[in-house]
């Protein structure tokens, strides 16, 4: 059946491209994706509920703001679940590699000390 052979040969051309253009394009993330925890400074009440539950001691809150050591974070979402003000969510940042260990510690300013 020559038609059958032709169909089999040309069929794959109609297949959509399965891969994405990452890293040239944005990574394909989904709304639920657990990236690095993010704090909403307008909601944070500095009660340190997140600091208390963090199983890897990756969080610290001081006068400068909310410190997250992404080198210790295991993306378990305990901080987000513990926050009574719903100020923390696991965001969409997934590109975390760094050449310097110190750059893994990220500060989110919370506004002046209370």
């Amino acid at each position: 059946m020559p038609f059958d052979v032709l169909r089999r040969l040309l069929g794959p051309l109609r297949e959509p491209v399965a891969t994405s253009r990452y890293p040239d394009a944005e990574p394909l993330l989904q709304p639920a994706t657990h990236g690095l925890p993010e704090v909403d400074p307008t909601r944070c009440e500095r009660d340190r509920a997140c600091v208390a539950v963090c199983p890897t001691q990756a969080l610290r809150v001081d006068d400068d703001g909310w410190w997250l050591d992404s080198g210790r974070c295991v993306f378990c979402s305990a901080c987000a679940l513990a926050c009574p003000h719903d100020a923390i969510r696991l965001g969409s940042r997934i590109e975390l590699a760094s050449r310097d260990r110190r750059d893994l510690v990220v500060l989110t300013p919370l506004g002046g000390p209370r």
Binding site: L28, Q30, P31, A32, T33, P55, C76, S77, A78
Partner: protein, 530 residues
């Protein structure tokens, strides 16, 4: 005795008393029985229980001094009685020169457990046929007996050297492979003794990735230990997290809400599905059939993205937890789950159909790495490795927990015990998992996802819980300590149970078939080594 009714704690106590000529302290429930015996009674008791159909699950070593400074050490041999309870046979041992008669000659499946107990606690299984070190390597000295709660006085004993078991004779050569491999895979050293192309004997050395996880979780809260247990490997995360959670729930009489019980089943089946698909792809890689590897690799990727959309994590970590589930499923992803799984399921069937019709591919699979049903039973094979050799072993049916008690999971088996059989079992089980996920996604009960623990666990209370994962049955042995913390945890992963089966499947095959045979089991090193 099996003729006159089900095996219960009482009937086990009666059978043992009759044989040993004394009554034994037997305690427990319909699911789990604890029997304390003297060291000399251990082998007779195991023998009697095997006569009742009992199968070795694991052997755990304990140091009881963490809770009671004047106590000693102990070992527990655990057997599962079909249609009956889990029986834990505990023998207490002195701190000085702890030793018990080895069980390996009675139940070969205990061979690695006994070597592990010797390494990690210094308990000697007297008369073990292969008393070489297993877990600890001489390259990391000073680690002797890390699970002892009290460090012995004096300097640690020197690390024992490891001598691979090799064959000798005219024309026999040795072929060392690993621990560093060409692919991005985990470390293991394989020493082949071969004649021409045929393997005479294989000596496998693992535990290069031993991280001391069981020691690491001691003293942690249950939530803290969960993080480590579910990350013991990246294959059976839901399985290990669920088994651990159910162990905690049993020690605290926690009732898990319906949505969580069904949700855990859905997660477990998603985990099984993406693993089975990936494992079939790896079997294709084992024979260099890249069409199958890429097609199934892409299907696995689609399943991982489904996982990510549903739970936020491609490998489903961080969801199952003591009391139920930590996170609610993403509502949009859940609404579309059934349809997405249906589409992927159809594509899996399409690829599998192409593969099984490829004669040159299937010719490599047939007859390679045969494990007879008898070997599988003797060596304690679990999961696909057991079912592809004709054993009906599936904890989802044998000891249904969570939502499985309300579901009828069809048992998939094959008789041949070769690579092809393991391929077919996976293909059919992936289809079963797809059907289960679709069914549950459409009718997940509404309501809360997590219940608080019923009460704090009793200090020293312990239990054993198993869960059927992609590699087979994984078991958690858990003892609670003070302040609701972990006193001792043992993870008997499915891969740990199946590694000796891989080793037994290889002799008689061609050396170049080893990657294929190994991939047909596709075992984890990470959760074996812990």
């Amino acid at each position: 005795m099996g003729d006159d009714g089900p095996v219960t704690a009482r009937s086990i106590g009666e059978a043992l008393a009759l044989r040993l000529g004394r009554s034994l302290a037997v305690s427990g429930t319909a699911d789990e029985v604890l029997v304390s015996v003297e060291r000399t009674e251990m082998r007779p008791v195991v023998d009697i229980l095997q006569g009742l159909g009992g199968r070795h699950v694991m052997l755990v070593g304990l140091d009881l001094r963490g809770l009671e400074p004047t106590a000693g050490l102990a070992v527990e041999e655990i057997l599962a009685i079909p249609d009956g309870p889990i029986v834990r046979i505990r023998v207490e041992l002195p701190v000085e020169g702890p030793s018990y008669p080895s069980l390996t000659s009675l139940t070969p499946a205990a061979q690695w457990d006994e070597r592990e107990v010797r390494d990690l606690l210094g308990i000697t299984p007297a008369g073990h046929p292969d008393p070489r070190p297993l877990v600890l390597h001489e390259t990391v000295p000073g680690l002797a007996h890390p699970l002892l709660k009290v460090r012995p006085a004096g300097p640690p004993p020197p690390a024992e050297a490891y001598h691979p078991l090799v064959a000798h004779g005219d024309g026999v050569y040795e072929l060392p492979v690993g621990p560093i491999h060409a692919g991005v895979i985990e470390p293991g050293h394989f020493r082949f003794s071969a004649v021409g192309e045929s393997v005479l004997h294989l000596d496998a050395r693992l535990f290069y990735a031993h991280r001391g996880l069981e020691r690491l979780v001691e003293g942690r809260t249950f939530d803290g230990a969960l993080l480590i247990v579910e990350r013991a490997c990246g294959v059976c995360t839901v399985t290990h997290a669920t088994a651990f959670s159910r162990a905690v729930e049993r020690l605290t009489d926690t009732i898990v809400p319906a949505r969580a019980r069904m949700g855990r089943v859905m997660l477990a089946e998603l985990e099984r599905m993406y693993n089975h698909v990936g494992d079939m792809g790896n079997i294709c890689a084992g024979v260099g059939f890249h069409f199958g590897t890429s097609q199934l690799g892409w299907l696995k990727e689609r399943l991982l993205r489904l996982n990510e959309g549903l739970t936020g994590h491609r490998f489903l970590t961080g969801v199952a937890a003591p009391g139920g589930l930590r996170l609610e499923f993403d509502p949009t992803a859940l609404a579309g789950l059934s349809r997405a799984v249906q589409a992927i399921d159809l594509d899996i069937r399409r690829v599998v159909r192409l593969l099984v019709r490829s004669e040159s591919f299937m010719a490599r699979l047939h007859g390679a790495g045969v494990v007879s049903g008898e070997s599988a039973r003797q060596l304690g094979a679990v999961g696909v490795a057991a079912r592809a050799s004709g054993l009906s072993a599936d904890l989802r049916r044998d000891r249904p927990a969570d939502g499985y008690a309300e579901l009828d999971v069809p048992l998939v088996t094959a008789a041949a015990g070769d690579v092809a059989a393991r391929f077919h079992v996976r293909a059919q089980e992936a289809a079963v998992s797809a059907a289960l996920v679709r069914d549950l996604a459409d009718r997940l009960p509404e309501g809360p996802i997590r219940a608080p623990l019923g009460h704090p666990p009793e200090i020293g209370a312990s239990t054993v819980v198993g869960a059927e994962g992609p590699r087979g049955a994984s078991w958690i042995w858990l003892m609670a300590g003070r302040d609701a913390r972990v006193e001792r945890l043992h993870l008997r992963s499915a891969s740990f149970a199946n590694w000796p089966v891989v080793v037994a499947a290889v002799p008689g095959n061609l050396v170049p078939d080893f990657p294929l045979i190994n991939k047909s089991f596709e075992l984890c090193y990470a959760c074996t080594d812990r």
